[in-house]
């Protein structure tokens, strides 16, 4: 066909696929063929507006016009209405970039996600990709580490440890084999930022890891990816192959004479492997039991060698910091929480998705202005922040700001930035039971407070649910939580009581007002 081809973007993000994006793609191809119009489909990542997925964008003279949520059945009508020219239709959302939900975000880490073809190195480079690595190769390793430190970037996986300090420790270890590992074991319910990024802009993660290698002298990288993410796995492997072809990975990174190799390793369905020492055990091919620290992984990590362990979002944020400078990044944020955070709105929420904003906005703004309130239309009673080990926060505390210190101030933690909303039908005693059950299922078994405590915890909450002397059982549950918090070897047993304790604190009536069965 000689006629100009209109570019149509249909996300290949797993979330969009879960809502029928593949069928939409087929319908577009079929309808275009029937009408004999030239259409070229690009498979982008998701913009993160999941209530509009599949969100299809058409590149018109007036910009990229979005339509959504599109089902395969809508496609003939969209062609009929003239969507290839950006015409009106009930599903037309206007330019995606101009939607208020999108326009008010501050996307630094997610700048390209949903915009580009994730497997196109040239698309990536046209939008600022590989500028960070280029700069990293032109300065000293000390200068790279200094930039990352001054930017204030802290670990986005949940521990919030300053990234630059971790890198400096690895850098200062004696020369020899060092490793960069990426923790892509995104197991917290309510989180999907890592997945979206790996599917929508995998090269930014690859570039960030390469910079980490150049900065610390590590020549081998591993991405430890959870087995529950088969789509991300396929995309990552292809993206790594493209980066090798473009000579951005391998023996001579961008002609610098420096080596950095990278591969993906799959986890196997163990939540505990998101804990960094357990992840290292798993990468070495063993049971994912946690290691006693010290020594820190930065000193003695993978195969006993100095190792960086960073989360996907942390590493993918490095390129923009190294490219634009520490001050640029540190210019965003509040207090000691610098930069931006990709926040994930999930659960019972009307407009679920990914919101990247500078630290310092309130939970209320997130839940109501971005999230639009609950999906069920009922009042939001509680949110759980930071995954299954995170506290439940009641509606009375929704004016709390999203930053590490402000949340710690109310006994909560930000974790990986996932927020799960529950409406007023939620039974908080049942959620407490689940918290203990999850810990029992996922405990690695190495320490007793976690292994046995969680099982006893389930039993106690079950007695409470059955109305057996709830007063006494609640006291025992509180004592058990304390033992687990104080006595567990790692964060799983040590934090699994947080949702239980917060539920007991804010929703005590749910535990005490049970009727004996």
């Amino acid at each position: 066909m000689t006629a100009a081809q209109t570019l149509v973007y249909v996300p290949a993000d797993a979330g969009a696929l879960s809502l029928g994006a593949e069928a939409v793609c087929r319908a577009i191809a079929a309808e275009a063929a029937r009408r004999q119009v030239g259409v070229q489909v690009v498979r982008n990542g998701s913009r993160g507006a999941y209530w509009l997925e599949p969100l299809v964008e058409v590149a018109t003279a007036r910009g990229r016009v979005a339509y959504g949520p599109v089902s395969a059945a809508d496609v003939p009508g969209l062609f009929e209405a003239g969507w290839l020219e950006g015409a009106a239709h009930r599903l037309r959302q206007g330019e995606a970039q101009a939607m208020p939900w999108f326009a008010s975000q501050q996307r630094l880490t997610f700048a390209r996600v949903g915009l580009i073809d994730p497997l196109s190195v040239s698309d990536y480079m046209e939008r600022g990709g590989y500028q960070g690595l280029r700069r990293a190769l032109s300065v000293s390793p000390r200068e790279i580490i200094e930039t990352v430190t001054r930017s204030g970037l802290r670990g986005r996986g949940g521990a919030a440890f300053p990234t630059g300090i971790k890198w400096k420790t690895v850098f200062e270890q004696p020369a020899g084999q060092k490793y960069v590992t990426c923790n892509a074991d995104e197991g917290d319910s309510g989180t999907f930022a890592d997945r979206m990024l790996m599917e929508g802009d995998p090269l930014s993660l690859i570039e960030g890891m390469t910079i980490a290698g150049i900065a610390t002298g590590a020549t081998q990288g591993y991405i430890y990816l959870r087995a529950e993410y088969p789509h991300a796995h396929r995309i990552l492997r292809q993206a790594i192959a493209r980066a090798y072809e473009a000579r951005c990975l391998g023996a001579d990174v961008m002609g610098s004479g420096k080596r950095f190799d990278l591969e993906v390793r799959l986890g196997a369905g163990a939540y505990i492997c998101g804990e960094e020492t357990s992840m290292l055990e798993s990468l070495e091919g063993r049971r994912g039991e946690v290691r006693v620290r010290p020594p820190l992984p930065a000193v003695k990590g993978l195969f006993g060698r100095p190792t960086i362990v960073n989360n996907v979002v942390t590493l993918a944020t490095v390129p923009v910091i190294v490219h634009q400078g520490a001050d640029f990044y540190a210019g965003y944020g509040a207090g000691k929480s610098r930069g931006t955070l990709p926040i994930q709105l999930a659960g019972n929420i009307k407009r679920g998705g990914l919101v990247e904003r500078a630290f310092g906005l309130s939970l209320r703004e997130l839940l109501y202005e971005y999230g639009g309130g609950s999906a069920s239309g009922r009042p939001i009673r509680a949110v759980q922040i930071g995954g299954p080990l995170g506290a439940y926060v009641p509606a009375s505390q929704f004016d709390t700001l999203i930053d590490y210190e402000a949340l710690a101030g109310i006994g909560a933690m930000l974790g990986h930035g996932g927020i799960v909303a529950f409406d007023d039908t939620v039974d908080m005693a049942r959620m407490a039971r689940y918290a203990m059950e999850f810990c029992a299922i996922e405990s690695c078994g190495k320490c007793t407070p976690c292994r046995i405590g969680s099982t006893r915890g389930v039993e106690i909450v079950e007695r409470i649910l059955a109305g057996e002397d709830p007063q006494r059982q609640v006291a025992r549950l509180e004592e058990l939580c304390e033992v687990m918090v104080q006595g567990s070897l790692c964060g799983l047993g040590g934090m699994a009581p947080f949702p239980v304790q917060s539920a007991l604190k804010h929703f005590r009536g749910d535990f005490l007002a049970r009727v004996s069965s």
């Binding site: 797993a14 696929l17 879960s18 999941y50 799959l266 163990a270 091919g285 049971r287 994912g288 299954p388």
Partner: protein, 166 residues
Amino acid sequence: MQTLSSEQRDVVGRIVAEFKGRPGPLLEVLHAIQAALGYVPREAIPLVAEGLNLSRADVHGVVTFYHYFRSAEPGRHVVQVCRAESCQALGGEALADHARKRLGVEFHESTPDGRFSLEPVYCLGNCACSPAVMIDGQLHGRVTPERFDALIAETDHILEHSPEGP
């Protein structure tokens, strides 16, 4: 205890040979075996142990530590229902109950006709589209009980009789 067929032994042998020189290869070997055979047969453990110079206990310990590795042959289709918080917030527990009834099995079981295995999963990363289900590696979002039934029917459209039985 069943013995491995000669084809299965060959598959395991080839996989071990392919990965043995790599650093920390055991998980990769187990993934490759499960991808090829659908599960990690107990009888494969001595072969893997010998090939990688590990003890049988080491290999058994790893296979049983990880939820993803199966020691028994699964049904033709693997249905995973997410049971984590985000899905619970939008009816995930009711969906899990429905799935059990519809397939007539508990979690971790297969239907007697070998068509379906039902497995719990703790987060598929589709939390903005809860509740989520994965069938044979295909992700589905906002799954209602009705949609679940439709997906099951699509997955096995030669289903003449319901596994719920007469």
